[in-house]
C-alpha cells in the first residue's frame, strides 16, 4: 500500500513536530522522560485516543460520529446505575457495552438504511444519549465500585502499563490491520471517495456503514467504562465535549473531513503530538486558556496549511502555463 505524496509529506511534518516538541520537553523538564510520566501522558487522555481510532475509520468512510462522548457518558451511567441497583459488576459492564452497541447501531440504521446525513443523526445522538445518561444518574455521583474495577483504570497491570493502555495498543493494531490490510478497509476508502460508485460496483454500503457505527458505539462505551474506572466515580456530565477533541485528533492526523483519505500512521503521530504537547505544557505549568490556545493554534494551522499549500500550488502552476 503506497501513500499519496502529499500525505507522506504530512506525516513527515507531524513527525518533525513530534521530535521538536519532545526535544523541547526534554530540555524543559527533568521529569518528562520518567516512566511514570510517560504512562500518565497516555493515561490522562487514554479514553479519547481509543475512540479516535474508530473515529478515523468513520471519517475516512465519509461520515462523522458526534455522539461518541455522549455514548461514553451513557455507558458509564448505565454501568453505575445497574451496579447500584444491585447487579453484579460484570453484568452491569456487559449491559453498558450493549447499550453502546445499541446506540451505535441506532445511529447506523438512520444513516445507512434511511439515508440521513450522519452529522444530523449523530448530533441528535449527542443530545439524546446524554439525556438518557442524565436521567439515569440525575444529579448524583455514583462511586463505590469494586476494587478490581477501579484497578483497571488506575493501577499498572502489566509492568508500568494499565489495562487502558494495553487496550489502546491492541485496538490500534487491530484497526490498522482492518483499514490497511483487509478488503473491508479498502471498501471503507472506496466508499469515502465515492459512495455512489461503490454502491453500483456491488459494495454492501449499508451493511458496512451499520457495522462502522455499531463499532463506534461499542468502542465509545468501552472507553466510557475505562474512564469511569480511572476516575472511580460516575456523573451525568462525564466526557462532555470530548467528541471535539477526538475529531480534532483525527483531523490533525491528516484524515480528510470529506472522507476517502488519511491513515492510522498519521492519526498515531497526531495522538503523540497532542499528548506530548499537553504534557510538556502541563509540566511547564502552562494550563487553562493558554494551553487551549496553543493547541487551538496548532489545529487551525493543521487544517489551513494543507489547503493553503494546495491553493498556492495550483496558482503557481497556473502562472507557469
Amino acid at each position: 500500500m503506497t501513500l499519496p505524496l502529499a500525505l507522506r509529506r504530512w506525516e513527515m511534518l507531524l513527525l518533525a513536530l513530534l521530535i521538536l516538541i519532545s526535544a523541547l520537553n526534554v530540555a524543559w523538564s527533568p521529569f518528562y522522560l520518567g516512566v511514570g510520566n510517560v504512562v500518565n501522558l497516555f493515561q490522562l487522555e487514554i479514553e479519547k485516543i481509543i475512540v479516535a481510532l474508530v473515529m478515523t475509520l468513520i471519517i475516512i468512510n465519509g461520515e462523522i460520529d458526534l455522539s461518541v462522548a455522549s455514548v461514553m457518558g451513557l455507558a458509564a451511567c448505565v454501568a453505575a446505575y445497574l451496579f447500584h441497583a444491585g447487579w453484579p459488576m460484570p453484568w452491569a459492564l456487559a449491559a453498558a457495552l450493549a447499550s453502546g452497541a445499541a446506540a451505535g447501531a441506532f445511529n447506523g440504521f438512520w444513516v445507512a438504511y434511511v439515508g440521513l446525513p450522519s452529522l444530523a443523526v449523530t448530533l441528535a445522538g449527542l443530545i439524546g444519549y446524554r439525556g438518557i445518561a442524565r436521567i439515569l444518574v440525575e444529579d448524583r455521583a455514583y462511586g463505590g465500585f469494586p476494587a478490581w474495577f477501579n484497578a483497571i483504570g488506575q493501577q499498572p497491570q502489566v509492568g508500568p502499563l494499565t489495562v487502558s493502555i494495553i487496550i489502546f495498543a491492541v485496538l490500534f493494531a487491530l484497526m490498522a490491520l482492518v483499514l490497511h490490510g483487509s478488503a473491508l478497509g479498502r471498501l471503507v476508502y472506496v466508499m469515502g471517495n465515492n459512495v455512489a460508485a461503490a454502491r453500483y460496483s456491488g459494495v454492501r454500503v449499508r451493511r458496512i456503514k451499520l457495522l462502522l457505527f455499531t463499532a463506534s458505539g461499542t468502542i465509545a462505551a468501552l472507553a466510557g467504562l475505562l474512564y469511569a474506572a480511572r476516575l472511580g466515580s460516575v456523573r451525568g456530565d462525564m466526557a462532555v465535549g470530548f467528541e471535539l477533541d477526538i475529531i480534532t485528533i483525527v483531523l490533525l492526523g491528516g484524515v480528510s473531513i470529506f472522507g476517502g483519505s488519511g491513515n492510522l500512521v498519521g492519526v498515531g503521530l497526531s495522538i503523540l503530538v497532542i499528548l506530548n504537547l499537553r504534557n510538556g505544557m502541563g509540566l511547564a505549568d502552562i494550563t487553562g486558556n493558554t494551553q487551549t490556545s496553543v493547541i487551538g493554534a496548532l489545529l487551525i494551522l493543521s487544517v489551513l496549511a494543507p489547503n493553503m499549500a494546495q491553493t498556492l500550488h495550483t496558482k503557481w502552476k497556473g502562472r507557469e502555463t
Partner: protein, 346 residues
C-alpha cells in the same frame, strides 16, 4: 515585615500561654516548598482573590520556592484538575491547594499525589470522601451558611414569606450541595414556615447557563419571589437576568456574592442583601496550612494548632460536615446591603 514577624511571634507566644486549647505550633518561615494553588477553574474573581491571599502568605513566610496558580478552563474542569494534580505529583511539588470541582473523581489522582509525598490541602470545596486529602480549610461553617441564607430569604421576603428557588453551581459541587442541605434543614424551623423552596437548578458556574436557568425559574414558578444563588457566578447572572427582564420589583436575588460584582444590583434593589467571606483570607490561611504541613510544623491530625500569621490561631478538628476528614474552620460571614456594599466593593 519585621512587624509582621513580631506579631507572628507574639501570637505564637500567646498561643503557647493560652490556658485552654491545644498548643499552637509556630510555623518556621524560609523553607523552600514549591506549591500549587488550584482553583476550580481560571477566570473567576474570587479565585484570583484567594491567589492574592496565598501570595501574601508566601511573602510573609519567605518561601524561596515558587507558588504556581494553575487551573483548568471551565469546560474542562474535571479532566483539567485531574491533569494538574497528576502533573504536580510528577513534578514532586511540596503541597497542592485544591478547590475541588470534581467530586470524588479527583480521588485517584489525589491519592496518587499524596502517596508521592505531596500534601493535599483543599479549600473552598473539599473532596467529599476526604480520600487523598490532608485537611480541608473551610471558609465558614456549612451549617451557618444554611442559616445565613434562610435568614436573608426571610429578611427579603418579610414575615409574609413566599416562594423561592435555588440557582446553584454544578450538581456535584460539594460545598454548594452541603450549604443547600443545611438551608433545607434550617427551613424546618417554625420562623421560616412561610418560606417555600420550590426547586433547585444548576448553572454550572457559567454565566450564560446561570442566566438562562434564572429565566427558566421565572417561567416555571409563576409565584416566584426570590432566587437564592449560593455561588458568586450564579448570583450575578441571576441579578442581571432579573434586571434585563425588568423583574426586580417582583423577584429579588440573594445568596453569596462579591461586593465589587454586586454593587450595582444592590444599589438598584435587584439584590438587596447578600453574604460572603473573604477569599483573600481563605487563600492566605490555606497557604499557611499547606506550608505548615509540607515543612512538618503541623501534622494532619485533629487537635493540631498553629498560628496563621495575621489571622491568628487555628486548630485542626474532625470535619463535622463529612463522614471522614479533617477541617480548619475560617469564618465568619459578612452580610452586605445598600448601606455597606460600596465600602466593601473598593
Amino acid at each position: 515585615m519585621k512587624k509582621l514577624l513580631l506579631a507572628t511571634v507574639a501570637c505564637a507566644t500567646l498561643g503557647l500561654l493560652a490556658p485552654h486549647g491545644a498548643r499552637a505550633q509556630a510555623i518556621e518561615p524560609g523553607k523552600p516548598v514549591s506549591m500549587i494553588l488550584l482553583p476550580k477553574f481560571l477566570g473567576i474573581a474570587v479565585f484570583d482573590q484567594a491567589h492574592n491571599g496565598a501570595e501574601e502568605a508566601a511573602k510573609e513566610l519567605k518561601n524561596p520556592a515558587k507558588l504556581e496558580f494553575l487551573g483548568p478552563t471551565p469546560e474542562n474542569s474535571v479532566a483539567g484538575q485531574i491533569e494538574i494534580v497528576t502533573n504536580a505529583a510528577t513534578q514532586g511539588v511540596g503541597a497542592l491547594m485544591i478547590s475541588n470541582n470534581s467530586g470524588d473523581q479527583i480521588v485517584p489522582a489525589a491519592k496518587a499525589a499524596h502517596a508521592k509525598g505531596v500534601k493535599i490541602v483543599t479549600w473552598d470545596s473539599p473532596i467529599p470522601s476526604a480520600e487523598g486529602e490532608d485537611v480541608f480549610v473551610a471558609q465558614v461553617d456549612f451549617t451557618e451558611t444554611g442559616t445565613v441564607m434562610a435568614d436573608m430569604a426571610l429578611s427579603i421576603l418579610g414575615a409574609g414569606g413566599g416562594t423561592f428557588a435555588v440557582l446553584s453551581a454544578s450538581p456535584d459541587a460539594a460545598n454548594q450541595n452541603s450549604w443547600i442541605a443545611a438551608m433545607q434543614t434550617a427551613l424546618k424551623e417554625p420562623k421560616y414556615a412561610k418560606l417555600k423552596l420550590a426547586g433547585i437548578v444548576y448553572g454550572n458556574d457559567q454565566s450564560e447557563t446561570s442566566y438562562n436557568q434564572a429565566l427558566a425559574l421565572v417561567d416555571k414558578y409563576k409565584d416566584l419571589k426570590l432566587i437564592m444563588a449560593p455561588t458568586t457566578v450564579g448570583i450575578v447572572a441571576a441579578a442581571k437576568a432579573m434586571q434585563d427582564e425588568k423583574l426586580c420589583d417582583k423577584i429579588k436575588v440573594s445568596g453569596l456574592g462579591l461586593p465589587a460584582e454586586m454593587l450595582s444590583y444592590t444599589k438598584n434593589g435587584c439584590a438587596p442583601e447578600f453574604a460572603l467571606w473573604s477569599f483573600v483570607d481563605l487563600g492566605y490561611l490555606s497557604y499557611y496550612t499547606a506550608y505548615g504541613l509540607a515543612t512538618g510544623a503541623i501534622k494532619a491530625e485533629a487537635g493540631q494548632s498553629f498560628v496563621a500569621g495575621r489571622m491568628g490561631k487555628y486548630t485542626i478538628t474532625k470535619d463535622p460536615t463529612r463522614k471522614e476528614g479533617l477541617r480548619i474552620l475560617m469564618g465568619p460571614f459578612s452580610k452586605y446591603n445598600a448601606s455597606n456594599v460600596e465600602a466593601a466593593a473598593k
